[in-house]
């Protein structure tokens, strides 16, 4: 698996040659730096660790982390991600750019943190349909969860019962998205469809 750490820029749309208008997300992936190469002998598995400097600052980086990153010649990292069984033949300190990995038509996975939505009811959170009608004398049952279990047996609510609560802000992986366009001159990628997260949030792109 190869991959890069990028930043979500926003969304736009592209016309394909067939005339279809396709919505796509713009991701900026500045060159990532290889900070560690794990091998079967030393770590038991093979992986390439990559760092994205982003908006990180040296003064907010611990000395331990700075020591780890110094091998690659960088001072700080906003995010560090490991890609297992990478086919890239890179050494510590090398940079990995978009055109090293991605090409038009590739199928990729995108991992991001979804937008936080706060405390939400079951209709939004779990796609419940609510209880009852709007009319026929009913009131305040339209977005209600309904029954959450039986009565004296089991006399408790089962674990994992879907209820209202904090929604969003989860790590979400979108699988099998198409790369529509690669713009290496500005380190930009256009990916078909939506990617979780707000504008400016970090996105991990992986390609098998």
């Amino acid at each position: 698996m190869n991959g890069l750490i990028g930043k979500k820029i926003g969304m736009t749309s592209v016309f394909t040659t067939a005339g279809k208008n396709v919505a796509c997300t713009v991701v900026e992936a500045l060159p990532n730096v290889v900070t560690q190469v794990k091998t079967k002998d030393t770590d038991g598995y093979f992986a390439v660790q990559m760092s994205y400097e982003g908006s990180s600052k040296e003064k907010n980086t611990t000395q331990q982390m700075q020591g780890h990153l110094s091998a690659a010649g960088i001072k700080s990292a906003q995010k560090i991600v490991e890609f297992r069984d990478s086919s890239l033949e890179k050494n510590v300190g090398d940079t990995v750019t978009i055109d090293d990995i991605f090409a038009e038509g590739d199928v990729v996975n995108a991992i991001g943190t979804s937008k936080g939505k706060g405390f939400q009811g079951v209709v939004k959170r779990h796609n419940f349909r609510g209880v009852g009608d709007a009319t026929h004398g009913q009131h305040n049952r339209q977005r209600a969860p309904g029954s959450i279990g039986a009565a004296s047996y089991p006399a408790r609510v089962f674990k994992g019962m879907r209820m209202a609560g904090r929604t969003g802000g989860d790590r979400i992986k979108m699988k099998n998205l198409n790369v529509i366009k690669v713009m290496p001159e500005k380190n930009l990628l256009l990916i078909k469809g939506a990617i979780p997260g707000h504008k400016g949030s970090l996105v991990i792109l992986e390609k098998f």
């Binding site: 736009t12 749309s13 005339g19 713009v26 713009m183």
Partner: protein, 118 residues
């Protein structure tokens, strides 16, 4: 420059069509793909609105087809538009000609722009 603006400016192609405005009578040649075959259909009517900007700019063409009003929205950037011909320049006083929807016959006619030589 904002990166999203950059992407949009890279994707946007030079306009292939003549300049037209709401009120103009135009003929749009639109490619229709039926299986493997491709043919061109001409939609002729008045432009009643031009909306949006950049890649998402669209225009609406309205025509009367055997007594029934038909409107079609075309994306300006669609590669399926083969050609646009301006047939008449209309004289109108607003940008969106929605009022035409309520009118039939002679009242729904748009006055033609007269160009005088100076």
């Amino acid at each position: 420059m904002n990166l999203l603006d950059y992407v949009n400016s890279e994707l946007k192609k030079e306009s292939r069509f003549p300049d037209f405005r709401p009120g103009d009578n135009i003929a749009v040649s639109y490619k229709i793909i039926e299986g493997a075959k491709e043919r061109i259909q001409i939609f002729k009517g008045d432009v009643i609105q031009i909306k949006g900007a950049g890649l998402s700019k669209t225009f609406t063409v309205r025509k009367m087809s055997s007594g029934v009003g038909v409107e079609r929205i075309f994306p300006m950037e669609s590669p399926n538009i083969a050609e646009i011909k301006v047939l008449k320049r209309g004289r109108v006083r607003r940008a969106k000609l929605y009022y035409l929807r309520g009118l039939v016959g002679k009242k729904a006619k748009i006055r033609e722009k007269k160009f005088t030589k100076k």
